[in-house]
Amino acid sequence: MRELPWPARVYFAALVGTAGVVIARGLLARHGLTPEDWSTLLVLALLFLLCESVPTLLSVPNVAVSVSFSAALAAVVLVGPEGAALVGLAAVVSARPGLPLVKRLFNGAQYALCGYAAGWAYESAGGVPGLPEPADFPGVLVPYAAATAAFVAMNFALTAVILRLAAMVHRDQVSLRVMVQFLSSYVGFATFGLLIAALWSTVQSISAVLVLLPLFVARWALGHYHAEQRAYDATIAALCQAVETKDYYTRGHCTRVSAASSMIAEEIGMSTERLRAIRYAGMLHDVGKLGVPTKVLQKEGRLTEEEYAAIQLHPMRGLEIVRGIDFLDEAFAGIMHHHERHDGKGYPMGLAGSEIPEFARIIAVADAFDSMTSDRSYRKAKPIEVAVAELRKNAGTQFDPDMVVRFVRALDRHGWQPAQPAPVPPDDAVETTAKDHDDPTTPIQVVSER
């Protein structure tokens, strides 16, 4: 409390005071609540607490939507504004651990006011609190929608004000996409509240169990989904690193290319789904290098055309390996064409300009940049500025100029953590390559056999 700025403290006091007045007035002035109402409220309040304690029932990223909202809305329909306010007040005794008293009070007051506002909107739009009858449907949907809108708007406004006053969040931290997710999940939860209220006349509290069981199962499945997703990312990274152990100097290359590629993709504004795909594409872009004989990679000096052809084959080999992974889809093109050049002199197909798939153009920039900013057996890592200058110099010939611009912009914004300087490799059992096919500053020399 003490660390809050004074406007926040004033706001807090005003909120708690208003909530207290509203509840007291509602309880005293009106005809009061019947014993049946009280038992309904008790069950709903317990439900509210249960859901409040599992806040991220549906863990949409960044949004901790609480299903408790549906219990409060059910109270609006069944008991009315006072009931909804009382159910909301239950947030004070939330079972969530480590919640300071200030936050408890704020939550309780906030939810009570939201509940009251929702009840008021419900009655204003023509709804009559009480057990809904079959004949009420679908007419009750209009006041119910009004109640939902009032609850959400009130909740949003009250929370946003305290967050701004307490300077805990800035406006640009909440993106539009997150807002849409937020609102759509509220609409979903509102439906549950309506179901609970509608079934109350038949099986009372069991209705809540029937509504929430699928949700808890969904939560279980989503939990497993996220665990598997994490495991998947870790596995793919570990396997790519295993491929790299063959070459001492390229360790960590795949993870860094993946990071740089997704920086460019974010700068372009790619959708989440494509962002995911390009992360994997960056990670996997060089798996085919394993098919290049070690002696070719280790050879000093010029390569024969045959040996160079073996190097040029690695994008195809990579594609061959990952082709079985259905969801990568667009990433395939990125892996296959990441050595094409803007001027059409690259491999394996010699595509030029916009013929080259977008993913491949992105990976090409990221790949060359990381190669230049890492140590190689034949040279030290170049500073970031030098590497950027090199990218700019080759923009339009080797690289897509647009991608280079985007990458430089992303670098300015987020910075870059280059590869750790590689210590001199220990002598035993470590391979070092004499050349890096990704390095634009030292192109591979090929002996003409004619």
Partner: protein, 429 residues
Amino acid sequence: MRTRRPATAQLGLDSGQLLLICAAGMLTVAGIAHTAARGLTDPRVAIGFGALIAAGELARLTMPGNREVAPVSTAASLGYALLLDVGGRPAGHSALEVVAVMSVGMIAGGLPHLAVGRPPRLDAMARRLLAGSLLAFAYRPLTGSLEATARDTGAGHGNWWPALGVMAVLVTVMLAADVVIAAMLRANQVRTAFGVAVRDEIRMAAPLGAAVAASGILLALASHSMDMTALPAFAAPLLVTQVAFRKYAGIRATYLQTVRALSRVTEVGGYVEPGHSRRVSRLSVGVGRELGMSEPQLLELEYAALMHDIGQLSLRDPIPGGATVLADADQARRIAGLGAEVIRKTGVLHGVAEIVRRQCDTLGESPPMASRIIRATNAYDDLVGASTDRDRAAAALERLRLDGGSAYDPGVVEALARVVDRLVLVTRL
């Protein structure tokens, strides 16, 4: 799109599945004929539920282990079977009418899939239809008395508790029957023990089954309170569940595909013969089933078998032909250790890493069963390769048997012999 079904399934449907599909087909004909003769009791309700079933069928998904499910369709079928009244009007439809609405809805929902070239899994559809029909035949005769108890009178609201109890009991019985049917089919299909199959099916079906059962009952009750508004409203909780399960099933499938794909890096690098990892994993899973392993164990075994040679990536030069059976014991152990190290770096597949690490242990060191299986199948494949020659297979098995129980577990080798025998038969046919 490559097929991922086991070799036995490629031959077509087995007798159990055929029986199931015939039963469902006859039931469909009886239901539709009966309904055509009598007419629908309440067309509006029947069409509403039929549409929901069709929509659910359209949104069916494949769970791990190639199990097709359609949660929204199943829940809508349950709801229609359990229906007592719609907004106060008693629902008097018979069990055969339920069958007719279900089958028409399922066929309608399956047609768009067919149009884009995804053939229906007839056995899965038949199971869904039979489960729903079973419930309808058990429950519909009771509706008269249950509805009378639950009906609202002038004095107040009706008593719904008997109806709720009967619904809960019958739905539980239905789900149990469904699990038993599924387990019987599966035991037959992938040749695993019935007891193991039942446990696997329960593990897979329990969470989704609970959600579907709750939603089905919810739908029947909500139709009383909310009239037809119940249909779209009810779909909300189940839709969330469906989305979650689709994501889960998707990542599971992708995970397996990825490990399968990336296990080939050793082949592309010239460390092992082409197809080695896939053959070892297929044989290992076959042997694991033969020895009664459960599905989670089989998954670990499959991952370990696919990645058993990953340690070779750390070698400077590939072993000739990649045959670890020919390498000396110390080196094989070192490779196994390196491979386990790579897998442990994932931070999640600890069980798999342990299996890979101990794949060269002798029986005296009592390695885990999965490691013994991989040791035997790996040796077998190093000796036989992609060949399907019976004599060569027999010679390789003989060599494993001659070892006399120091490196290869005799039980595993016998199971391997049975699996190989079946595979050779299948490739001959």
